[in-house]
Symmetry: C3
Subunit: 440 residues, 3 copies
């Protein structure tokens, strides 16, 4: 068993977890994240202030990873479109969504028509700047509001993208391991490649960071592994370096889009009925907020990689409103106003409840299985009978005794009884305390 | 094979089964049943008049039984609360619900406040006397209407409960065995521990008694075992004395609450898909009365004991409106008006139909399985074809021939075809008669 | 592998498949088909013009077949009811529904009451002649409109049925085999015993003939076997002669009632989840016309024989509105107006789609199962990312890669993904083309 890495919360004056998470999101928002490059490093450096045990890994460009190759590192210094008067009409320094991610360097004069082929805007959301990428096809471009695009009426523009695609660079990802009593792992994965988009996915980073702090303070049955990497290629690189150990992963979650409005969404893993899938459905059932459980779909976030058929890991995806289903998605409107402290805080509580449910999902055996044991003489039963009391507590005791034949976990009991897991946890402890239940 | 016990119907002039059952309920109503004591013995003595083969068993107080111990026998002679004028304000002789079951003896003067801690009433049903017990926690008390309780305005009352908790007493239960062609058993269990409550459970006793009389008159595939004992501890005692033979139980039913209004309710055994569970659902489907099938719940009547995980017997519970779901439940309103002859009679017919369905649930093999056999030359098919006749009889023949591949019972055929079991019984007999079906 | 039989479409001038099929139905309509006899032979002779490889088989009357015996051949030459004036009031030459099928010969004078016992009419559809048979019980009779029946007010009638029940005759059926790459077979079966009824089942014959022509022009994975025989006894005779080879049948369909109005109906085989059952449900799901999938029922057409428990072949039944559910069923209103070219053509397209789906239902293995393969460098992925494109094509690629672990067929992928089979066929070909998928 490795020694746990020391974890220190550096946060000092934040009044509530929600406000503290929002402060983290706000601090990360301006950093110029992309698939690779300095912005990812700066982001992980901030996370290390919260999670000193976080290790940052650099993987050289050109390294093969499963079916892929680590791309050149993209360094963007400046990007603009000027008019003849030299005014910066489109200015990367004003918003880092303005440049097409992974734009190749360019400098010169272009006619309006030539420039237009490199512009991206949203006619139906004319005030918003879209987020666009061209990671694997060399291209350059600018993203801008459609309103601004329509104002570009000059005949020629000076265009500059001061970028480098550094073949000698590297891809950066971060990993935090919180060792538990068992080598079996819970994987928690967030993508950290999006620039100034608050919900997608600074919200996921913030929830993961605060969840890690909370878990670090507790005894842990499972080992928890947090991975912060760029979307797709990050998960692929990570998987390529852990092919021999991914078998330890018993449960996993991709955390994303957890700061916006809307109910919760749990997307099932490819296995559909993995323990994490059933646990998420149960915890959401009893959590008290609107939610939906959706079936597996091979499109979305890094669960695509974890659930590819060769790995088929039990990794679901936890979010609020899913990608593409809110109008702010992948636009400049996914900003610090859109992500709210109370929404982040509620997401954190849900993630904690889910981890608690996984931690405590034991299978018990009733040690007095012939007839009901007499609860009264053990102080676990009400006094005067004949009334219609059937309180949840009594039912929890009876369900646990009745179903605990060694083949059913607390998850099974919660599903069949309709009782909430926290109540069953308490009742199971009480029954274990009087020697009626024994965990297998 | 043991010799069948002789069974004699002593009933002579009752005009209908319903009236005869109601007469039995009325005769048992005033007897002072409790968990133990003379009232149970008197009750079983009446049942023996109907079922001479019924054997009465006495189990000494203090006998261990599974996780429990047989309690002291409770003998109640009198109980009253008098005012200073010596008037019996609360009088056990007027209604045997007035005393808290298993009250310890007491005699003396009590202030109104002291007495009030020992009173039980129903503020929301102010005219009714509730039924309350304190079997396993020593206590004494009176049950009374809330209206009467509010009239107790004197400062002091004389209180007397003339009871004995006899450590040298015994617990009493009755058992009737109707041997069948097979050692495999059908268990029918009723609790007989409730005092003057007509539906709970004199109705169950009456239906069981008349069902036993009916079964006794017929050839039987199964051995039928009727158990009449006090709730919970009775089943536990019975199970503790039959641990080696409960494996013979193929099907079981707890019979209770069968005389009141409302549709039928079948509560599934812990197995949920046992033959008795599926049969009950089917018989109810075709019986023509409103009904509901409910999932297993580890709360209720003695199915709790039979379905404890160590035994896990296929025992469901048949009732009309379940406990706690009618306002008369466990009050003085569960009386001889509440239980109606026609409701008892319908319940008996249903119980008979269920036993018939279990008796006749054979698995057949089609002896001419290649193509349809030519029914016409065997006199089983209509003459002129081409019309749209598809009468249930023809369909029953075709379904039986088509599904009887040796892997499907009549129950399976009834479930898949939607046809009623009595029709399938007749059609199976016809096909067996012409050599097309053979029971396995 | 036997040499394929030569197939020649003899049709020359038909402008559309629907019109060509309707022309075939019109040509067959007047022929006097019955269970046996010249009408069946004439019908099969016409089909041979379309399908030169069709082989016609004669099975002598009296031949045992499973539980049955091939009946005497019925030859009907003339049938009439005359009044005293010698007028042919009911005249077989006017409509061959007028005679009860398999009528025994009769000639003589009958009172109105005597005659009436041999008349069949439809009081609720007074203008229509019903279709009635008495194959296995010797009888004679006339079918007529109820209106006409009411006009028969004379006291005596001369009755003549000039028929023969030839014990030295034979039962006739036709069979066409289109050999495929595999010995595994698709069985397509139509009954050809009904006289002038256009939907039941000249529509089925027409769709089968044109489907066979189409399949004959294509490479075939499966061997296709078309059987055209009289209902019930035809299938029984065929099965009795192929008991050793029916194990080759992987999929089967009874084709009937395919020319009338109304949505499509697929009736599942006895297996309920056979590949043909699931394929039919999927093809109908995506075909764009109203449809219903119905569970197995041991009543209907020759699926009754193919799905008898001894054979239990995976044979479903494809129709439009099922028998008995349209008012024209088994009456003179099931005529050439009721069957429409466009309905026949749509049915043919559906049958072709179903065969295509069966042909192409391969199970693939993803050859790059660890993480998603990089589709971009293989030219299979869109360029600029970040937008919300998730077009069906991309989804088809992702679903196929994700699910193709060697345990799931295209059918599984289509069921789980909700994507249409033709799209998945194209996507699977594209992925196979770049070496990412391999059929097992």
């Amino acid at each position: 068993m490795p020694t746990p890495a020391p974890i220190l919360a550096t946060l000092t004056a934040a009044p509530t977890p929600g406000a503290a998470m929002h402060a983290l999101v706000a601090r990360l928002f301006p950093l110029g994240r992309s698939l690779t490059g300095p912005g990812v490093r700066e982001t992980l450096a901030v996370l290390r202030e919260y999670l000193p045990g976080l290790r940052v890994h650099e993987v050289p460009s050109g390294t093969p990873a499963l079916d892929w190759t680590v791309p050149a590192e993209w360094i963007i210094r400046d990007a603009w479109v000027k008019n003849a008067a030299g005014e910066r009409l489109i200015d990367f320094r004003q918003h880092n969504l303005h440049v097409l991610q992974y734009s190749t360097p360019v400098h010169g004069w272009f006619s309006r028509a030539e420039l237009d082929e490199h512009l991206f805007s949203l006619p139906e959301q004319p005030e918003l700047i879209p987020y666009r990428t061209s990671y694997y096809q060399p291209n350059w471009g600018f993203c801008l509001s459609h309103r601004q695009r329509e104002q570009l009426q000059d005949e020629y523009y000076e265009v500059c993208i001061d970028s480098t695609l550094d073949e000698a660079g590297s891809l950066t990802y971060g990993e935090l391991v919180l060792p538990g009593a068992s080598e079996e792992e819970v994987l928690l994965s967030c993508h950290c490649c999006h620039p100034s988009l608050a919900n997608d996915n600074l919200s996921g980073l913030a929830v993961a960071v605060f969840l890690a702090q909370e878990l670090a303070r507790q005894p842990r049955r499972y080992t928890y592994r947090f991975v912060f990497g760029p979307g797709t290629i990050g998960a692929i690189v990570w998987l390529s370096r852990h092919r021999d150990t991914v078998g330890h992963i018993r449960h996993g979650l991709v955390l994303t889009l957890l700061g916006g409005p809307g109910g919760f969404t749990y997307k099932q893993s490819r296995r559909a009925t993995a323990e994490v899938d059933r646990t998420a459905a149960l915890v959401l059932r009893d959590f008290g907020s609107p939610y939906a459980v959706r079936p597996w779909l091979p499109y979305g976030y890094d669960e695509r990689q974890y659930c590819s058929p060769g790995f088929n890991l039990p990794v679901g995806c936890l979010s609020r409103t899913p990608f593409g289903e809110f109008t702010e998605y992948h636009t400049s409107a996914d900003n610090l106003e859109f992500v709210r402290p109370e929404q982040l805080a509620e997401s954190l509580r849900l993630a904690e409840a889910l981890c608690t449910a996984l931690e405590r999902n034991y299978t018990y055996r009733n040690l007095s299985p012939y007839g009901e044991p007499q609860l009264g003489r053990r102080g676990l039963y009400k006094g005067v009978g004949g009334g219609q009391e059937g309180a949840d507590w009594q039912m929890a005791l009876l369900w646990l005794l009745n179903l605990s034949d060694g083949s059913r976990s607390l998850l099974d009991v919660a599903e069949q009884s309709g009782l909430a897991l926290p109540l069953l946890h308490r009742a199971a402890s009480a029954l274990e305390g009087v020697g009626l239940l024994q965990p297998l």
